[in-house]
């Protein structure tokens, strides 16, 4: 499989000084934003005893592991081991990092050596992320107007008006997540209801 950018969340759901779980093609990630807003995506495994770093906590420009408090700096290198406060940790203790950029309100991840930028989703505003128990094929079957493979777009009739809808698909260990965007100026509440209805219809396709 050729490496590609995967959407792992919306910018609005990751405030400063917060870490969350992310995924890239079967790899679990810890995606976090520092106190000054710097965004990073790392392998979700502390090198010490394997604890998920997505359960850790952000302090300033560092991410700390919740198990024994090992502190990792912006380069992924271990900066502090609380059990041995006087020790300078060896440079070999590092967490593998992924490429991570945000664009159009979407957080994108890819392998560290990924060339090129994520897809552009201009003239859209982020709406919400929603998880589904079905696959993308069921979503496409439920709404034939949607075009695309992992970026699904359509102009759909919501209420009186035609609205631009864009759903960016992400496959994770717990199933499918759709990161939804809508046209600038659209009625967010109405589009959000439409997305929920789409989920119900798509999940019914699988049950049927």
């Amino acid at each position: 499989m050729t490496p590609r950018w995967i959407a792992t969340g919306l910018s609005q759901d990751l405030p400063k000084a917060v870490v969350m779980a992310g995924h890239w093609q079967g790899h679990d990630l810890a995606v976090w934003r520092s106190a000054t807003g710097r965004l990073q995506a790392w392998n979700d495994r502390c090198p010490h005893r394997g604890m998920r770093l997505s359960h850790g906590f952000v302090r300033g420009e560092t991410l700390a592991c919740i198990y024994h408090g090992w502190v990792y700096g912006a380069d992924g290198g271990c900066k502090h081991i609380p059990a041995h406060p006087a020790l300078t940790p060896p440079a070999t203790i590092t967490v593998a990092s992924f490429a991570c950029v945000e664009q159009d309100g979407v957080i994108w991840v890819a392998p560290a050596d990924m060339a090129g930028a994520p897809p552009v989703l201009s003239d859209l505003q982020p709406l919400r992320s929603i998880s589904l128990t079905c696959d993308v094929a069921a979503v496409l079957a439920a709404e034939p107007a949607l075009q695309g493979q992992d970026i699904l777009r359509a102009t759909v009739q919501i209420g009186e008006q035609g609205q631009q809808v864009c759903l960016v698909a992400q496959e994770g260990p717990a199933g499918l997540t759709l990161h939804a965007l809508c046209g600038v100026g659209a009625d967010k509440v109405a589009v959000s209801r439409w997305v929920e209805d789409l989920r119900r219809r798509a999940e019914m396709k699988v049950a049927a």
């Binding site: 998920r52 024994h68 609380p82 059990a83 041995h84």
Partner: protein, 280 residues
């Protein structure tokens, strides 16, 4: 195939008082279904191939699915007059039984996982302590362990430097000895007896032998359960689930000497149920 040396060890399978009260327990041991119940006044553990070897000790029922390589380890303090023996109950954890034991041997996590109870920043330093594999008893021991604790026990008031000793007498059991807040000449004793349901699922039975006549039983149990639920939030989120015995997989420091010795001891004795031998 489960190695014979694994089958020849003793494992906790129930709380004795519950079985004696007539509660039948249908459970698993090393991936096989077993039943623990009372037959003509005796506790019996039955597996698919028939009855297992059984012994009762420290409030719990222990079973051996193979041919016991030795008697169940002793805890002499359990017999000392004046101690209160407390069966805490069961905590089910989705992790390797070996990871559950290793976590019990670890002190460096106290300030971060049991914050303001068993530890607190900035008191995070783990001083050097001593670790040995005792040849006579074939047990892992850690001694001269000290740690600053804001509230070391239910009966402790205010912060103290607590002294600890740790002991691994069986692959899925560990016992700790810690400074007793009420008596300077004795140790409180806390054990965890881990029942390996499968390689990635276990029932943890904490048990205590304390000098504490004051604290109500329900409070002692609630305190210990709170501690173990905090540990569970860690244990269910370690990757991989199995305990890596390959030294390249994880990075220990001097604070982890007990864990290093425990892993070596498991590997040397071939007690690898719940362990990962080669990095995946």
């Amino acid at each position: 195939m489960i190695a014979q040396q694994v089958l020849n060890e003793w494992y906790p399978v129930a709380m004795a008082a519950q079985i004696r009260a007539g509660q039948r327990r249908v459970t698993q041991l090393l991936g096989q279904p077993i039943t623990v119940d009372l037959q003509k006044g005796a506790i019996v553990v039955t597996g698919q191939g028939g009855a297992l070897h059984v012994t009762e000790a420290f409030g719990h029922v222990w079973a051996c699915p193979g041919t016991p390589a030795h008697d169940l380890f002793p805890i002499p303090e359990a017999l000392e007059p004046g101690r209160r023996l407390v069966d805490v109950g069961v905590v089910r954890v989705k992790c390797s039984p070996l990871r559950a034991v290793e976590n019990f041997l670890d002190i460096a996590h106290f300030p971060f996982v049991h914050t303001d109870v068993l530890g607190a920043e900035p008191h995070t330093e783990v001083n050097r302590y001593e670790v040995q594999i005792r040849e006579d008893s074939d047990e892992v021991w850690a001694t001269k362990v000290t740690f600053y604790q804001p509230q070391a026990a239910k009966s402790a008031e205010g912060g103290i430097v607590t002294q600890y000793m740790y002991r691994v007498p069986a692959p899925t059991a560990a016992v700790l000895y810690k400074t007793c807040p009420n008596r300077t000449d004795a140790w409180d004793v806390i054990g965890i007896f881990v029942q390996p349901l499968t390689e990635e699922l276990c029932d943890v039975w904490p048990w205590m032998a304390l000098y504490d006549d004051v604290t109500p039983q329900a409070e002692l149990i609630a305190f210990q359960q709170m501690i173990f639920l905090q540990d569970r939030s860690i244990l269910e989120n370690q990757i991989p689930r199995l305990l890596p015995l390959d030294p390249g997989m994880e990075i220990p420091t001097q604070a982890d000497l007990t864990s290093i010795a425990y892993r070596r001891w498991l590997k040397k004795r071939g007690l690898t149920y719940g362990a990962q031998m080669v990095a995946a």
